[in-house]
């Protein structure tokens, strides 16, 4: 083993020191959400978990996550029993903060373990690349902003995802990969976005004979089926026996929300809305009809439903059809050439499709693309050129999550630090591709990255100076998400080309 410094553990130690210092930082309502879940799982019988609604933040994660909260609550009573009382809404004693923040840091060890397994699973000549990619995930600004400031448990969940991906690399451990992914789905259902890729890959590589599609391997089908069914049975079985499945469905899939999430995730719909806003001003000249109702909508652009004034409305079915279509395209290739790297590529593209075209997408879902992509971003320079705008756009699009003054330097400096460090390191070590590169892509991404600097300055400073804090609040958000959407979209197109030509 030559020159793999700093090691994962060393980075984890320093990063942990930094994360502990962030204990008193801003925390979003997700902190209260998780505290409430601790209280629910600790003080109520399992039967009532999905019916409790004292707090508006009801339990809306799958059963395994509830069980995970229950385990944590067993420890929480030693830290501060008051946080486990359901009626103590918005309770945040320092013991509670220390406890909850510590659990995020400790459970992230799963990610550390998964990454070390990932490095081990890579053959010797590529170790350095795998090492750099692992460090970039471990130190990802996305995880720092979402988990350690905003408050969630993504580090732990993505740890399981990466573990599952690592197991998918070898025929002998494919079964574990499937089971791990089933467990992951029972922890957080957002990973359903990736499930088609798993389904196709496991079916093709594990359940069917590698030589011929028409020769099923019944032993494998049985093992995998048994494993997955028992995981889901364990998770949902009790609720099914109490007849609560419909209630769970309502809690897990609240379809009453609008097309765009409060903060405009940088996807196609953000660009669509942006175009609509521009068309409103141009419509009189172009002679386009304007939907007056949408203009007067109070919540326009900020919260809840976005209705469009000029462009046609978008329905759930549209988004669903688009998502499915763009998920299926890469899966065809995966079906025909089921290799581990193609699998990771397909996972990434499934993430892209659901992020770009999905209904009510959270900006946090960008990790669903970035993290699997990081694992193959260093395959060669073509992959890396597609990755670069994604990293910039994805992480910049997370900025609006933290809007308090004290956290502004943290998010910007940390993200810039990460981008400078890893884009430079990746650029140095990414191997030259076998095929020639796509013309102009590098120029495009350089221009794109340069634009981010004045944009961030405008959105975080100039706008407030010109318009004040109150007026046109949606404008910086819209600029940021349209800009980021452009990057995500561009990197998606770039990666599609790379994926299909590889």
């Amino acid at each position: 083993m030559a020159e793999l410094y700093p090691s994962l553990t060393q980075c984890a130690i320093v990063a942990t020191a930094f994360k502990v210092l962030l204990f008193p930082a801003y925390k979003s309502t997700d902190f209260e959400v998780h505290r409430n879940w601790l209280a629910i799982t600790h003080s109520l019988p399992v039967k009532e978990w999905y019916y409790e609604k004292t707090s508006e933040w009801t339990l809306d994660y799958p059963p395994f996550f509830a069980a995970f909260e229950w385990v944590l609550s067993q420890l929480a009573q030693y830290a501060d029993p008051a946080m486990l009382v359901i009626q103590n809404l918005n309770y945040d004693s320092w013991q509670t903060i220390y406890f909850q923040r510590t659990t995020v840091i400790v459970t992230e060890l799963v990610l550390l373990y998964a990454l070390s397994r990932f490095i081990k699973s890579v053959p010797q000549p590529n170790k350095q690349l795998a090492h750099a990619a692992s460090l970039s995930i471990l130190l990802s600004p996305g995880l720092l902003i979402i988990d350690h400031i905003h408050f969630q448990y993504n580090g732990f969940l993505y740890g399981i995802l990466i573990l599952s991906i690592v197991w998918a690399r070898k025929q002998s451990t494919l079964l574990y990969s499937g089971i791990a992914f089933a467990v992951l789905l029972c922890l957080k259902h957002i990973y359903l976005y990736l499930s088609l890729a798993y389904f196709v890959y496991l079916l093709r590589a594990y359940c069917l004979d590698p030589k011929s599609v028409f020769r099923p391997r019944f032993g494998n089908i049985f093992k995998l089926g048994l494993g997955v069914v028992s995981v889901f049975g364990l998770a949902f079985g009790p609720f099914a026996s109490w007849g609560q499945l419909l209630q769970l469905k309502d809690r897990l899939f609240p379809f009453s929300r609008g097309l765009c999430h409060a903060y405009w995730a940088p996807n196609l719909w953000a660009m669509y809305s942006f175009t609509d806003r521009i068309l409103i001003t141009l419509a009189p000249r172009l002679g386009l009809p304007i939907n007056q109702e949408a203009l007067t909508s109070v919540t326009r652009g900020l919260v809840g439903d976005t209705s469009f004034a000029v462009l046609p409305e978008v329905s759930k079915e549209h988004t669903f059809a688009l998502t499915l279509l763009f998920q299926l395209l890469p899966l065809i290739k995966l079906w025909r050439h089921p290799g581990p790297d193609t699998f990771i590529g397909a996972l990434t593209l499934c993430g892209y499709a659901s992020f770009l075209f999905g209904w009510h997408v959270h900006e946090k879902a960008i990790l669903l693309i970035i993290i699997p992509f990081s694992l193959i971003a260093l395959k060669d320079r073509r992959y890396f050129s597609a990755f670069r705008p994604l990293a910039v756009a994805g992480y910049v699009s997370l900025f609006p999550l933290l809007f308090t003054a004290a956290e502004f330097p943290l998010k910007t400096v940390y993200t810039i630090f990460w981008l400078v460090l890893f884009l430079f390191v990746f650029d140095r070590i990414a191997p030259v591709p076998e095929r020639p590169r796509i013309f102009l892509v590098d120029r495009f991404s350089l221009l794109y990255i340069t634009v981010s600097i004045p944009l961030i300055v405008y959105c975080s400073l100039v706008h407030q100076l010109v318009f004040g804090l109150e007026r046109y609040q949606f404008l910086p958000l819209m600029f940021m998400s349209s800009y980021s959407a452009l990057g995500v979209l561009g990197s998606w197109v770039g990666f599609m080309v790379v994926y299909f030509t590889a």
Partner: protein
Amino acid sequence: MPPPSYRPRKKRKSATLFAGSNNSLTVDAGDGKSVPAFPLVSFLWGARAGVSQWLVLPLVLMTVGLFRWAISLWGYSGFQIPPMHGDFEAQRHWMEITIHLPLSKWYTYDLQYWGLDYPPLTAYHSWLLGKIGSVFDTTWFALDGSRGLEDPLLKVFMRATVIVSEYLVYIPAVVTFLRRYTRMQAVPVWSASIALTAILLQPATLLIDHGHFQYNTVMLGLFVASLDAIMAGRMLWACIFFVGALGFKQMALYYAPVMFAFLLGICIFPRIRILRLLSIALVTVAAFAVLLAPLMLGVTGIEARENLISTTPEPPLLQALPIRLDRSSVLYHLLFQLTQIIHRIFPFSRGLFEDKVANAWCAVHTFYKLHRFEADLLKRVSLGSTLASILIPCAIIFRHPRASILLPALATVAWGFFLFSFQVHEKSVLLPLLPMTLLLAGDEGLNKDTRAWIGWANMLGSWTLYPLLKRDGLQVPYFVMTYLWAYLLGLPPTSWQIYCHQKTVSDTETAAEPHGLTKVIHSLFYVTMLAWHVLEAFAPPPPGKPDLWVVFNVLVGAGGFGISYLWCLWKLISQCRRMEYRVEEVRKNQ
């Protein structure tokens, strides 16, 4: 005339005086491969060769900046402790009075509530920050009405002023100083980057400035800028920067004897240079004059004169003046203002020491109460012992005024002041720690012996600050930052390897292994510090002695700082001898 015959280009003198290497950064893993000697080396492993400083430096500065800002999210001194609050409120109050009051009232206004008692540059700095802050929100600095304000946005603003001031003064000064110093000592760039990171993460400085809340780094930065000017041979700039440091915080006096001895020394040795002496003296006086000019001009107006003397009693220094002045003359008012400033800055009327501080007096006081002596006698004893402790280093610097041995001399003298002088604060430990820590960037500065000593002194320094930090609710940042620093430099309690024998790659520097005595002393101190934390956390002090743990901390600290003083002195003497020896050799060879 024929061209002069070929002469080999003269080698740079420094290159023969020192032969720095990266040897102390790697150890032999057993199979001939080199591995990092301590974790900080690992983190900069990628920067060994071929990476531009334009990349390494911004990354290092961003990292240390993030840690600073993260610490600043925590509590500050005096948070929610009315009526006086703490240092945070004092600094905010100074911004409030400087932007609202005429210059004649700055040093006289309501002295009972955090009256201004820092030198003029701090006052101007406060004025500037107050003006900037008022753009954001005028209520933050409303005269009298804003006392004890604890708005979260005000906290962000104040924290930002500390970090911005530091990045404008301290950081550029340290970076340029290190660049010059390492080049002079022929230390490789890679080692220099590692030393820079270690220096910029010094836990005590970070915790006091960004946790407790002070602007020490501005003063320290001006001092380092002065050192940098000396290394560059710009003695007049050195004077100006040093006057700036003194004008920002009187504590810079800890360094003054060495600076004085050095500047005097270069005018006398190797030959007397009157002109240089005169220009140094002139520039220094002029710098002081410029520093005081706004405050002096501020009392020349009729109204300002009334303001000045109507509310304040005549300063004792003015009373002690042998001549009587006409109370209506301008000169009288100028002198009044000047003596009032001096009276405010140097509180001679206070006791020998305040609170519990790890210096000699507090330690002696524990066993032998010093109250029984008259204050005057104590002052004289204090002055005498301080002078005695700084005599040798000052004499060495005076006789051998060489920039390369300034750092150990400055550290020795600052330790002397810290241990023996009058009215020492626990925060003053930053002053001796800075030049001592800068030694990490010197020749062999990162070898095991030097690293062990400097690391140990820093660990001890932040440990003695713990009682103070605990009052501010900064226990977590304290543990995180000290532990992190210890980890990065491979020190106990994270690793005892520094005291074990390791095979180096070239195996040329067996002398760099810490001495047996060093191992014993350091181990004893580390074990004591750890045990103290356990005691302090879990065992309540006996009923009659609520301060027992703090007293214990002070005693151990004072002992350790005494040892640090001796080590710096020894380092100074040995470096000076080595220097003379090398110079002698170079001379012989030529």
